[in-house]
Symmetry: C2
């Protein structure tokens, strides 16, 4: 008998106040993943009409409630697969995993609790968002063994202020500093991420902070006709990357193909998968 | 017997597709204002606990529904006062009005329909937002006699794109171009406005477009304990004005005192009232 997902989430909330990395945090993430998967496994899966080329989606249905769209290929049902992933995360070593497998593990660990909330509450968008923030920050914190901060000091002659930010991971003097905005999806709100990067560049010097947004997906489901689309704004992204600031890399659990294609165009925007992030860690701490 | 506010709003929606300025648009705005005021006049006014120094707020109550906070001093009840305002708007001449009076007229014309929607629908945030956008754009369009566009062409070597924007009013070659983002309130979302200004500066050259956000207020009501606060982030604004782009002026229907104070600090941020905007029009078309 597993615990209720909400109960483990409460434990996670307490835990992240103490530390975003370490065994206890990974235990909570695994507990939430397992509890959500067990709860969801009893539900019917409703196929959705995918308007996204090359991807199939379904939704979990609980009475009259429908979960968000779940990518069929990325969602893993086997508890052993997920146990293997969390145990590698505890060891901080993903030797033997490839990026595609790791991406599907991250996706599963992240989306399960969100679907559970979709099916058990009415219009609660906040809790899935908060959970996903903790999830992404805990992944980064566990792999880097750094605790993030969420404020930075701004000193500018007579202006002295402390600015709230997304998670900031600082490897120390002369080493990279990462700015990790976390979003379930972005659409036109992504401009905020570029604007925050611009502020960091302005205050600390261009390139001092590397912006690496971590995003779940860009799917949108029409609950009436059960259609899933991906909402992507590649030309806006290019204009932001040209005219506002340069984001370093953008990581997705379910990366849209059109964004993956931006890597090869000008200005280059390096869109990668969540699995790539975990495999990138060997190099992230290097100048 | 006046029409239902929703019916006049439907007429406005049809009208703005044809033209944002002219007698028919002003007629619709006046119709919505009158119909909403008449409907609201039958409701009880519940005093709110104002945590905003120097300002008192109330809310309209319809059964178990409470409207947003209404600034007592700014809300005008007399139909003749509003008729006088709309007739001046039709003539495009506010001779004899001062900024304070005009601000209260704008505030009344804008907030009435929003309160009506608060009291008649559940959680419909979109319709008040759309109405307020039309309202602000129609004011600017009527005073300038220009029709706005909401897309601009971006040409950059091999990149050729059309970017969606807020309302853009263009006085023509060598004359100012205004970019008018319209928001019911902004909080941390205001960074988007600075970021859009940065894009316009980057694409067209700094100063080519003058950014003039038009905002209702920054109040937030706690419906449980009936407290009203103003959520202001003056230090963030200063950092955005220093590091992202320069906004030209920021207009409020119910301007927060702390933002009005930014005019005298560095970097100067020129916050003014909606009434000032109407009186500023004589100079807006000049280079």
């Amino acid at each position: 008998m597993t615990e209720a997902p909400d109960d483990v989430f409460k434990q996670l909330k307490l835990q992240v106040r103490r530390s975003l990395h370490g065994k206890s945090t990974v235990d909570c993430l695994e507990g939430i993943c397992l509890a959500s998967a067990a709860w969801l496994s009893r539900l019917e899966r409703v196929p959705l009409v995918s308007k996204v080329a090359g991807k199939d989606y379904f939704a979990f249905q609980s009475k009259d409630r429908l979960s968000r769209a779940v990518n069929e290929k990325l969602y893993v049902c086997e508890a052993e697969d997920m146990a293997e992933f969390f145990s590698a995360l505890r060891r901080r070593s993903f030797a033997g995993f490839d990026a595609i497998t790791l991406t599907s593990r991250c996706y599963t660990a992240a989306i399960g609790f969100c679907c559970y909330k979709d099916c058990t509450s009415t219009g609660d968008q906040k809790t899935p968002g908060t959970f996903f923030e903790y999830f992404a920050a805990a992944l980064f914190s566990q792999m880097s063994q750094l605790e993030p901060s969420t404020r930075i000091e701004v000193l500018n002659l007579d202006l002295r202020a402390s600015l709230p930010t997304d998670y900031i991971f600082d490897y120390g003097p002369n080493l990279p500093k990462y700015h990790l905005p976390v979003k379930i999806s972005t659409r036109e709100r992504i401009i905020q991420v570029w604007a925050h990067q611009r502020v960091l560049d302005g205050v600390y010097g261009t390139g001092r902070f590397r912006g690496i947004p971590f995003i779940m997906s860009e799917t949108k489901t029409d609950r009436r006709n059960k259609e899933v689309v991906e909402i992507c704004l590649p030309v806006q992204w290019q204009i932001y990357q040209l005219h506002i600031a340069q984001l370093w890399r953008i990581y997705y659990c379910d990366p849209p193909a059109v964004y993956l294609g931006l890597t090869k165009l000008f200005p280059p925007i390096h869109v990668r998968s969540a699995g790539d992030l975990l495999l990138d860690f060997a190099s992230l701490s290097k100048p």
